[in-house]
Symmetry: C2
Subunit: 423 residues, 2 copies
């Protein structure tokens, strides 16, 4: 059953009028899932964003659970049926309008949490422009490793320190060593950075020992959210060999509250192809469907609001734009690769895309790229300069899909603030 | 309150007679914690091993939870009081003998599971002999990275594929590329290996942003178990740069069922000192207590039983012995380092020590070391040869503490079997 055409048709309107505004990110064609609560003593509940409201799915009698991970473990048919039921109930003229209306809560009256409980978190490295630029900084002679075009490079990250949008965290301390220092020392990171990523949430699990093929892969994906993989570059440079990043990353990771489902993204699927001359993916990472529509056209943005901007009531400033279509590996390829050895992905697990930079110099998805490793400061609109993040800086990631003939949908925002060192 | 002296006194005897046999690993001085169930439809229950029995702690009215992670989150005083109550009830002449006796189950009548729910799993690299030997194989010119003696190197591992002793798993497939191959290919790993490690289970959590000092570190440790970090060396060699091991490790990791507590290990604490000429640890990784007693004298063994041995009813063969005292970083240093950036460790989280090899060539904690990267086969007692693991091989890790004036305690076993590729 393919309900995408029905639920993403551009002429669909909702009786929730805010959802019909052209600039609203959560029209009836989107219907992203998240968790909300009215106060910090209440349970997290499962909701779907519609306009400026949240639909409480249990109150609307669409589900009887408050366990998002359980819901994510449904079959893809079950998920599509639920989406269709939500869409039908929210449409203009729905007989369920009164019942659903009593299950709406204004978004600005709730707290939005992590969309689910995240068991394991894996971070990939699919942004080839990022990998190349950063590779040059760390390894001038050897920017892109020989395995890059063959292996979707990934590594395990820390689940416990992942927070929902709005996360505030202290500047981490760690060991660093300058090239001329005789010995390392402990101190606050001086090269704090963000990374613009997408997060991929796992739907149905695969059993341990049971690889997922390219053909099955997207049945195991619930949807996508924005992800900021905060990084301490000076800690990373000293610690990362030979086993990879560790304390440079695991102090905080921020995700946006709404999971935009694969069904909502269906109109924005695009062909996936390698640049001419690049090797074809090995057969376990290839499929006709992936070549035809493995990519997703998602426009991405990084915004910065410094403490001084906030005090002067200046709006955040756009730093970067890029597009997920530049990723070197697709969502399906990440799932197929991650499980080819039998590794079990569980409902609610999170995969990071890796930093999604564009090809142009001003499309870096991190300050490391935009400032050439801190060598060339950015001048902000209020005259402030940045090589890396300063205390009080708020970074906001945004993402949206739009194209002629489709209703624009958005991801909401992924916002996080770097605070000073904890005293 | 320090109850260690009372509960580890060598003359203590239990009315559970099997616990008093000199070769039993679970005398009343040990009292390790684990989870057991009578059949696969029952809940996991919390038990303590005593002789050949398990004491059901809830049935003995010592606790009212079946949630081990909740129990692990107790304060260290609470944990010590519980240990004392268990010890007193199991001692010769205890008034509680009848009540406790009804809460005993023979170990051979229960299934032993993972001791707790593992949220995040971090693997360290504290075996300097392992790091040096393996470093030579991967990087002949540069075996030990410049950071090794400064940074307790660690990386995040996969929690979902960690299994309890008895775990059986299929030989993983993965990408490999020989030095002369024009391109990589997908196939079953041909260089399957084990790694002899200890696992460190986290007790009380620290809040995100709140580092744990060296002085506080062991309050956050519940105890230790054996850990086998199965590794596919050929997959590792091709995938691991620049972000570390991933599919080479995350298909399976096996831990022993019993967590031997820090209280039980107290008699076996030893001074921790660096080899002469090595740099002193940075202050955040140093403490007087750590220098005086940061080490633990735990004797470790690797045993191998091939399928042919099993068919011929031949006992497993001892491959290696080593000692945890050779580790380059202590348990407290791993906790202090992991949290220095504010990373939050949660109750039940698992830290691997890294492969614990001894200094001698025959003390390698992996086949990679014992066979010089597969160049020199081991000849087993029945004439079979091994460079890496073959299908049907069972690897058994064992560990124990003994010294004059203390009762010998053991860790039980960590057993796992490599099966053939899944058809």
């Amino acid at each position: 059953m393919n309900t995408s055409d029905m639920t993403t048709a551009p002429d669909l309107k909702s009786w929730v009028e805010s959802a019909n505004a052209a600039d609203n990110e959560f029209p009836i064609q989107n219907l992203p899932f998240g968790r909300f609560r009215r106060d910090s003593n209440s349970d997290w509940l499962i909701g779907v964003a519609i306009g400026d409201q949240v639909l409480d799915l249990r109150k609307a009698k669409l589900i009887d659970t408050i366990d998002m991970n359980h819901l994510m473990a449904s079959t893809s048919d079950e998920r599509r049926r639920l989406r269709l039921a939500i869409s039908e109930g929210l449409r203009h003229g729905s007989a369920q309008q009164a019942a659903f209306a009593s299950a709406l809560v204004p978004q600005d009256q709730v707290e939005l949490g992590l969309p689910c409980q995240i068991g394991d978190y894996t971070d990939f490295y699919t942004g080839i422009h990022h990998a190349t630029t950063v590779g040059k900084l760390f390894r001038p002679d050897n920017p892109l490793m020989p395995n890059y075009k063959w292996v979707p490079i990934g590594y395990h990250g820390r689940a416990s320190s992942i927070g929902a949008s709005g996360q505030q965290f202290h500047r981490p301390r760690g060991q660093t060593k300058g090239p001329d220092d005789p010995a390392p020392s402990l101190g606050p990171s001086r090269r704090m950075d963000y990374e613009l990523e997408l997060g991929i949430f796992v739907a149905r699990q695969n059993a341990l020992g049971d690889p997922v093929t390219m053909e099955q892969a997207e049945e195991h994906v619930f949807g996508l959210a924005l992800l900021n993989d905060w990084s301490a570059r000076d800690i990373q440079a000293w610690e990362y060999q030979p086993l990879g990043p560790f304390l440079a990353k695991n102090f905080a990771t921020t995700v946006s509250p709404w999971i935009v489902t694969m069904e909502a993204l269906a109109p924005f699927r695009i062909p996936f192809q390698r640049p001419a001359g690049d090797p074809a993916p090995l057969p376990y990472l290839d499929s006709a469907l992936n070549r035809a529509a493995g990519g997703i056209d998602i426009k991405l943005e990084v915004w910065l609001q410094t403490e001084a901007m906030q005090k002067s009531k200046l709006a955040p400033q756009l730093l970067t734009t890029s597009n997920y279509s530049d990723a070197y590996w697709t969502v399906a390829q990440l799932i197929a690769h991650h499980t080819v050895n039998g590794c079990n992905l569980q409902s609610g697990d999170l995969l990071g895309s890796g930093t999604l930079s564009g090809a142009a110099a001003d499309q870096g998805g991190s300050l490391l790229e935009l400032t050439l490793g801190g060598k060339q400061a950015l001048t902000l609109s209020n005259g402030e300069k940045r090589t890396f993040l300063e205390d009080g800086d708020t970074v906001i990631l945004r993402g949206y899909c739009e194209k002629p003939g489709a209703r624009r949908i958005g991801f909401g925002e992924c916002r996080g603030t770097l605070q000073g060192v904890r005293k």
